[in-house]
């Protein structure tokens, strides 16, 4: 165990510090968080246009809703169209804003420049309208490049102090008003020709090309081995006391968004929903109750005879319903405790496997909406799957499966604690 701790501190921590503090990754994560409310509310609005009933439902309310939604589809879908479906607009701005801030550049200028860069390559007008084709998840990877490029350009120009030289006698405020033009000018003069040349050479627009480029990676991430690897890594970090899900999740977010967006497009087109791995899949199936899928463990704690575990069960119960479980992780502790560490890593991996096949075999509907991750898992899972009852049943199943995995380890640990409590009691009565 000491060997392992040494390895963590010496080998793993430096990498974690690098990744966790890397400014582009941080800006990306903060940017996604900034854009999240629009995606959450947009995906909530999806239910208006897609009632959670089969089209041949015999339920009275269901039939009324389905026929209302079919008649007014183009009206009902607009709130979703103007929020979630153009998510990349918000993401491009938010990433530009966050990254500019880390360089102490004007964040609003950064946000606008980054939006302009994205629109310039990804939304060239068609018949007088801005096409929204790449403003959904298909544009996410492109927006990372355009946002990073815009802000790095701003930074470069500022660092090199590249400004327009004005003759003496021109008031400084007037000179400064021209300085603001330079980043925009250079951004347009570099990105637009690249976009035109790219189109001429490859026949694809830049976002199309980027999607082609990322296709194998996107497909690779949506496989069981990749999911298990991500789950394992996140939980190993948690075992070392580090917020694994924020590190791993930060990198996975562009994939999550591009996947969920493709799923929504398939829902709209009436086709088979393609992707399994999305953020709600992680939050409500893999780690229900918080990292390690500890909700069932909290229930075991509540009935534990060991007073330490019982006390944690009491403080951790309500947060656990909302998928927050730091009291369990640091209080039990799970951190650096092999007895609880084994099921803590194992349970979410088993959950991931079961949920993967349940979705793959279409026993449970795939994710098309994006609830906040703090939604209680049974509700969150149903909401994410457009109110599919199978999602609820899957959560219940995973709750019991993770409970069964935790149970023997919980018993061993409880026994250790009870022995300690007994010894302490003996010591105090003697004294």
């Amino acid at each position: 165990m000491n060997q392992f701790m040494k390895w963590i501190e010496e080998k793993m921590m430096p990498v974690v510090v690098k990744v966790g503090n890397q400014r582009h990754i941080s800006a990306m994560r903060d940017g996604f968080i900034g854009a999240m409310p629009f995606m959450i509310i947009g995906s909530l609005m999806l239910i208006l246009a897609y009632p959670p009933f089969p089209s041949d439902t015999t339920n009275f309310i269901g039939r009324a809703w389905v026929s209302f939604a079919t008649k007014n589809f183009s009206t009902l879908i607009v709130p979703y169209n103007m929020t979630m479906q153009i998510m990349t607009i918000f993401i491009a701005m938010a990433i530009g804003y966050s990254l500019a801030k880390t360089y102490k550049l004007n964040p609003l200028s950064g946000a606008m420049l980054s939006l302009a860069a994205f629109l310039l390559v990804a939304a060239q007008p068609v018949n007088g309208g801005l096409p929204t084709t790449y403003m959904d998840g298909k544009g996410v990877f492109t927006s990372l490049f355009t946002s990073f490029y815009s802000i790095e350009l701003m930074r470069f120009l500022k660092k090199r102090n590249i400004t327009i030289k004005m003759p003496d006698g021109v008031p400084p405020a007037i000179a400064a008003s021209f300085d603001a033009l330079i980043p925009v000018f250079i951004m347009v003069c570099t990105l637009y020709p690249i976009s035109v040349i790219f189109k001429n050479v490859t026949g694809m627009s830049i976002p199309e090309g980027v999607m082609e480029l990322f296709k194998p990676l996107v497909a690779g991430v949506d496989t069981l081995p990749a999911i298990l690897f991500a789950v394992f890594l996140a939980h190993l970090l948690w075992f070392a006391g580090i917020h694994g899900s924020s590190i791993v999740g930060g990198i996975l977010t562009p994939f999550y968004l591009s996947n969920i967006s493709a799923n929504q497009a398939a829902l709209e087109a009436g086709g088979a929903i393609p992707y399994i791995f999305t953020q709600p899949f992680w939050a409500f199936y893999i780690v229900l109750g918080g990292s390690g899928a500890t909700l069932a463990l909290v229930f075991l704690y509540l009935r534990s005879k060991a007073s330490h575990l019982n006390a944690i069960g009491k403080v951790a119960f309500i947060p656990g319903i909302f998928n927050i479980n730091e009291p369990v992780i640091f209080g039990s502790p799970v951190v650096m405790n092999p007895t609880l560490g084994i099921p803590f890593i194992l349970a979410p991996m088993v959950n991931a496997t079961i949920a993967y096949f349940a979705l793959k075999l279409n026993l449970v509907s795939k994710v098309v909406a994006l609830p906040p991750w703090t939604t209680p898992a049974p509700i969150g899972a149903m909401w994410a799957a457009n109110w599919n009852v199978g999602a609820l049943l899957l959560v219940v199943l995973l709750f019991f499966v993770s409970g069964a995995i935790f149970y023997p380890f919980f018993k061993i640990y409880e026994k250790q604690l009870l022995a300690e409590e007994q010894a302490n009691k003996g010591a105090t009565t003697k004294a």
Binding site: V17, S26, G241, H243, I312, I324, P327, F330, G331, T374
Partner: protein, 100 residues
Amino acid sequence: MKKILLACAAGMSTSLLVTKMEQAANAKGIEVEITAVPVDAFVDNVKDFDIVLLGPQVRFKKDDFQKIADEYGIKVLVINSMDYGLLKGDKVLEDALKEL
């Protein structure tokens, strides 16, 4: 009045601790303002506080944050993980006040 800033990944679990710390402060009659934020809000908030406490799960942010906080002469500390897990508001508050 002293002002304490707590930060963790999403500002969720630290907000649990804030409640406990406020209760402890009330019980002891200590006047203190305690706020929890996600780590991405650290830069915007740090200058308005007297001390910063990080959740142990984001301790990898400490060195970077300390550099920023140094500009204002503010200390950034990592909360003891056991106190954090057991939500020992009184202990965390006491330790923080000692550092001020």
